[in-house]
């Protein structure tokens, strides 16, 4: 069925507009339409729209939570709480920052709370537990699946993973968060500052302290 007919509402102020420019405007608005339309629909209580928004960000959120919390069960709790909180409060989202920053602000706050509680409980062992309650070293779990991967090198990498995990437990929750967002998630320090409700300058200083401590702990890697 090759024939397509579309009715478009075109705003006019009593004058005709250039069709090429109009086409450009239509294509621009179509590409931007998804996020803001989904957010507005979610603000009206549309759960399906909210779940579609969730799917755009949830893999990264789960990765962050898994890496920081250290266990699949805790990561799932953080994921659940973050998105429920976002759903309950989406009415207060005013498009002043991107939805991505807004969601990450919620997630990082929950992760910070989790890290602080963990610190108080002094559960800083790098060994974590999976959903079956079995212990595993999270950073050491990243295996090298490339064809022809060297098993000896893979073993060394796993050992290094364990040392990095231990070194990260020596950071304060905030240092760990900044280091995590910068090194593992690859975010810009300005964005990290926005997410943590602080300035880019403070985020820079925190990153400096975190890398110094990490290098100190990992000594012979320097």
């Amino acid at each position: 069925m090759p024939a397509e007919t579309l009715i478009l509402t075109v705003g006019a102020n009593g004058s005709t507009s250039n069709p090429a420019r109009r086409g450009h405007m239509v294509s621009q608005s179509l590409s931007r339409v998804d996020d803001s339309q989904l957010i507005r629909a979610a603000q009206r209580g549309d759960r399906v729209a909210f779940e579609e928004l969730v799917r755009q960000y949830d893999r990264a959120v789960l990765r962050l939570a898994l890496h920081l919390a250290g266990s699949e069960a805790d990561a799932q709790d953080i994921y659940q709480e973050a998105f429920l909180k976002a759903y309950r409060n989406i009415g207060s989202f005013r498009f002043e920052c991107s939805f991505y920053t807004w969601v990450y602000r919620i997630v990082t706050n929950l992760c910070l709370d989790h890290l602080r509680k963990k610190q108080v409980r002094k559960e800083d062992a790098p060994v974590t537990v999976d959903s079956n309650g079995e212990e595993f070293d999270l950073l050491g779990q990243v295996s090298d699946d490339r064809p022809g991967a060297d098993p000896e090198r893979d073993l060394m990498r796993r050992e290094l993973g364990g040392r990095i995990a231990r070194a990260m437990t020596k950071l304060t929750p905030r240092e760990r968060m900044v280091f995590e967002l910068k090194h593992f998630q690859g975010l810009k320090l300005r964005t990290i500052g926005e997410m943590l409700n602080t300035t880019e300058e403070t985020a820079k200083n925190t990153l400096f302290r975190a890398t110094q401590k990490m290098r100190g702990s990992l000594g012979d890697m320097r």
Partner: protein
């Protein structure tokens, strides 16, 4: 720029957070300062050692179960509305108006009434100095709404601001970006399932395009017409093995779709990734607990045909 400054900022340099001018100065300083060059080398060694151990990716199974758990919790969750319930959401209202055919019809009727008023106003001044040359008779462009009417007391001219609702036709090949955008729009937003089916049907010819694949995944997840979902599912067949998002969407269709036909087709589609632990787990769950007898027996049959894993 001195050595202390370089040592304080070497991390920002490696993480590409320094402004261009400072970056350039640091590079020049390091070229002629041995201790800073050693410091930069040490930080680079630290950085590359850290990069050999990336953050672990959540497994598809963990992601799927997190989504399911959230979906269940959202059923009972309520939004905090506060004062916002008393404010009028104009943009939201416009959005609803665009999507709701009944409201659009009402707008057109208002447009015709408004058009009649506008025609009368313009006719009154016909041939006068204030006539807008861009004005078209309602036969050419239906007036959707009159936004404002003002009269200039000095010249007696009338200024009318109005919107038009114009049917348009776009013609082009499937490679034409404008045609692609309209098809993507139709696949996601049109209320007529026949139009959605036609657009998905055409989009299935280009599943290699990332945007098209996203639109097909969207249709598979959210289209309320099982025929459209089935069409979208079929078109994703070639990507189950290589694209984890496609695999997640197909797994989700298998677990959650309300239509047994879509679910049984999803089982067939998952054939190339049956060896995957997470797929096996989902099939095992369905074989044990699914309410649909056909899905239970089909899952069991597929599981039995798989080689045992020690």
């Amino acid at each position: 720029m001195n050595c202390d400054w370089v040592k304080q900022n070497v991390a920002l340099y490696v993480y590409e957070e320094l402004p261009d001018d400072q970056r350039h100065e640091l590079e020049r300083h390091v070229e002629r300062c041995e201790s800073c060059s050693v410091e930069l080398g040490a930080f680079r060694a630290f950085h590359s050692a850290m990069r050999t151990v990336p953050a672990p990716e959540p497994t598809p199974n963990l992601l799927a179960s997190s989504r399911m758990r959230l979906s269940e919790a959202l059923e009972d969750a309520e939004q905090h509305r506060g004062w916002s319930r008393f404010t009028f959401d104009f943009a939201g209202w416009l959005h609803q108006a665009r999507l709701a055919p009944a409201l659009v019809l009402a707008l057109i009727m208002v447009g015709f009434v408004g058009g009649g008023i506008a025609g009368w106003q313009v006719t009154r001044n016909a041939g006068g100095p204030g006539r807008d040359d861009g004005f078209k008779q309602p036969a050419e462009a239906s007036i959707a709404a009159i936004r404002g009417i003002t009269q200039d007391p000095a010249s007696n001219s009338v200024r009318i601001r109005y919107d038009t609702l114009q049917p348009q036709t776009a013609t082009g090949s499937l490679e034409d970006p404008k045609i692609q955008q309209l098809l993507l729009y139709a696949a996601r937003n049109n209320y007529n399932s026949g139009v959605r089916m036609d657009s998905v049907n055409l989009l299935t010819q280009r599943p290699e395009d990332e945007k098209v694949r996203q639109a097909l995944i969207f249709s598979l997840r959210y289209d309320n017409n099982p025929g459209v979902r089935l069409k979208a599912l079929e078109s994703l067949r070639g990507y189950v093995k290589t694209d984890t998002q496609v695999r997640d969407a197909v797994l989700e269709a298998l677990v959650r779709d309300s239509n047994a036909g879509v679910r049984s087709n999803a089982i067939t589609l998952l054939q190339p990734v049956m060896a995957d632990g997470s797929v096996r787990q989902v099939l095992q769950h369905l074989a044990d607990t699914d309410k649909n007898q056909f899905i239970r027996s089909e899952s069991r049959r597929v599981l039995d045909s798989l080689p045992e894993i020690d």
